[in-house]
Symmetry: C2
Subunit: 131 residues, 2 copies
């Protein structure tokens, strides 16, 4: 897989991946992929990240159902960051039940929550720990 060899993996063998909604460009989340999970993402068409905390592949949406269907995989000039253009199934990427993980905007008074919860996390995960 020559295209995987053109990536500059970091010291842990990972690359940061920015998931962006293909429909309107909203940045949904940032996570990491290993060589193996990127290959799986490409071949299956659904985003599979590498969970650094659990040290194992993490099929996004495996517990919530909110999988990400991949439209495009885009590499940057240095070859060390990816943008993943996705269709976010269920419209919710964040484990808090919000559309995007980026929901706190800096104001004079500090970080202010600027996005609403779309879906109850307890219902999303049915009592399991969040993905």
């Amino acid at each position: 897989m020559g295209w995987l060899d053109e990536i500059s993996w970091n010291a842990d063998g990972l690359i940061p991946v920015i998931a962006q909604d293909a429909t309107d460009g909203r940045v949904l989340m940032m996570a990491w992929m290993s060589r193996g999970t990127l290959e799986t993402t490409q071949s299956t068409g659904e985003a599979v990240y590498w969970s650094r905390s659990r040290q194992r592949p993490w099929h996004k949406g495996e517990s919530s159902g909110n999988v990400q269907r991949v439209r495009d995989i885009v590499l940057d000039c240095d070859g060390d960051t990816l943008v993943l253009l996705v269709e976010q199934v269920g419209g919710v990427a964040c484990h808090t039940g919000r559309r995007s993980c980026f929901y706190r905007t800096l104001a004079d008074s500090g970080w202010q929550v600027t996005d609403t919860v779309q879906r109850d996390p307890a219902e999303m995960y049915g009592g399991t720990t969040h993905e």
Copy 2:
């Protein structure tokens, strides 16, 4: 500065920052900020990153003139990644003279260049090394 204390800095004291065009949502680049450069970014309203290769602050556009005027600073759920909504002066974020650093899209044949060069890098940097 309490808002800076709410950020989960990595082991190197840095946070990844996704610069996104405020006008149409195009992801322009990903870079890193230290506590000091984030504070400067917030107080001056222009993006100042931390150059990991040169180990010093990097005022984006310092040699090319293509500064980024900051509209919003948005933190994610884990507090370990930022989105910077910016107005990209000159319309070019990448040192290759392209609008975005993300210009190689994965196709069956491998990475394909999908963005055109807007500005000659030699003219942008006047013979100096790129920023």
